[in-house]
Amino acid sequence: MKITASQTDGVSSIKIEGDLVIGGVAEAKPELVAVLAQGGDVFLDLSEVGGCDTAGIQLLLMARISAKSRGGKISVIAQSPSFRTALERVGISARCFEDEEGTH
């Protein structure tokens, strides 16, 4: 898993490339926490995500909660077909990452 973070106009962007799986979540945590600690909204680019498992999705859910607790939100701006399929398999609505209000 490769995580690239960037920031423009107070909005953080995170691009995740490669496999989003259990083997990489522990390693990814500090990188994500660092971005989230800055607060504000985060754009997630998942267009280059390859394999994706339940733990990988849970990692993003955890990041979403973190962002929320700081008053920000995480929006997925691009996603690969394999990520979408993985969401479906695990039984999570794709809307969950589209818009914070969308879950209600």
Partner: protein, 713 residues
Amino acid sequence: MDGNDKHLETFRQEADELLGEIETVILLIEENPEDDDAINRLFRSVHTLKGSGGMFGLTDIANFSHGLESVLDKVRSKKLAISRELIDLTLAYRDQVGLMLHAGESGVAPDAARVEEIVTRLRALSPSSETMSDAPSPIPSAPAALSLPHGSVVTYRVRFNSHPSLFVTGTEPALLLDELRSLGECAVVAHFDDVPALEDTDPETCHLNWDIVLTTASGLDAIRDVFVFVEDICKIDIEDISSDAILDPDAPQPRLGDILVHRGDVAPADLHDQLNRQSRLGELLVESGRISSTKVISALSEQQTVARQQLATKNDSVRVPSDKLDALINLLGELVTNQARLSQIARNTGDMVLAVPVEEADRLTDELRDIVLNIRMMPIGTTFSRFKRLVRDLSGELDKQIELVTEGAETELDKTVIDRLADPLVHLIRNSIDHGVEHPDERIAAGKPAKGTIKLTAVHKGASVVISIIDDGKGLDKVAILKKAKEKGLVPPDVNLSDKEILALIFLPGFSTATKVTDVSGRGVGMDVVKREIDSLRGSIDIQSETGTGTRIDLALPLTLAIIEGLLVHVGEDRYVIPLSAIEECLELTADRFATTSARNMIQVRGTPVPLVRLRDIFGLTDPRPPLEQAVVVDVGQLRVGLVVDQVIGNHQTVIKSLGKLYRKADCISGATIMGDGNVALILDLAGIIRNAKSDEASAIIRNTEARRSALV
């Protein structure tokens, strides 16, 4: 063995439906290859056919289906594009499986060489050969989509509460969920409200829980087996919810609140409290923080599954042998007749105490009649979809480009009418393809688009349904028709006919204008058969054609064959019923009606001469005529005729009773009905009356008098 045969029969019926679905869907895909939904439907149908074929030991069907399924799986995953070849092969597959299914009854064996050829060509479509041996999905032990009578289909609610160490033990929950999905129809909702913020937790621990609603025939043990490696650390609750009241097909659709209470997600008191505030329950519960939004989403998905299943249960229970329905209709006829009698008696006695309940019974009988007749109603769309295939195959054969557009597929008609309509419609559409729509180059030369259109529509019009076949072809050649009719001696050589009359000539027996006989049509039999069949359904045909722009054929058919609206008339001692759909108007035959014409048997109706047919003559009644007779003007086919009767009585809901074998030759009568007072009235067959009036009168009169007497005795 007996039971097994019964199951096999059920399988055949369902397989036939699946084949119908396959045909419909592949033609949809042909029109729009990007239709993912249709591709998935096609895949599922083939998959189900494979699975259930295997279950019944029909390995030829299972293996054959497997080959197609492998290719379709590639299409589904976008590794292969839809091609003309694939569509042709799918249709060929559908035909061969149809033969395999019915080889025992029809005696037509499937063509083994053809099957082999299709399999080889399918294999050639698939880019790599290994995929053919590699099953895209396992043959399910009991496909959930196919409701077989023995394996009972049960809906379970599975609550899968995970343990934080789940991931660490090497379990991937998504795989478990996939396994559940392979058992049957499955709705999965994950709960992630307990997921902590990233900085507070180890992301390798699992904080997700799942609610699954699964409809399967595989049984509880199969579900438990899925969780066998995790049940020590996770909490798995499996509950059969199909036996609950909420799945009772008679019960109304379960309410969200009931489900939430049932699942223990919310206390009944909380629910009651919220309901008093009258708003959308799910939103309110979430707002008030009583439960989480995912819990509501999960319950909502359960609500949908249950509702769908109720619908399925209802749909499953409609298979009734049609003779039972016929018996019901017959009985209903008796009831309607008897009710009419009762009402008449109540009116005659003028007793108010009697009148009120009789009126109520009247209303109930009417309602019952509508409902029972409605049971036999089927959407005509089932026949329409057959024609898509016909048009596709024939236009390919004749090198024409034709699109079939259908409208009003949901229009309902009596099942008997639909069944008997299929052949005439096939014939008319074949004619349009063969004689109507031109070859593309011819069309372009005439300034039309290369692709011809045949439109097939059905609409309700009063008590009948009008089915129209409209093509944008070259139209009927009226000059050629008239010339041919004169050559054949069907029309005297020096007569002048209107356009309408010329077009009606094509319905004469032995008439065909096609200069060369093709496979498709033009054998000179057909249009007269079509006409006869439509007549026997008490329908009518109207044909309009404009040279160069196309032909339109309208078939007007009664909604049902069991009950018609009729006009009751009096002649002598007897009463007759004239089908209301044919009646244009009623007139009094005053002396001045005849004044403008010199003939005794002709009157002027708004400037048009109308010939009169005296029912008194037709039925050989000799008693004296009343001083003032009445005429009922009817429109039969292309002819307007005035039927002379003693008196018009009024509208009559006529329950048709067919006459016995003895009276089958009674040409002027199509049936009989029993009146409210217990007397019999004969229903007039208008086409027969006109035939009779034209032909040898004396013999017809004798024949029909006899029939009438015997029918009434």
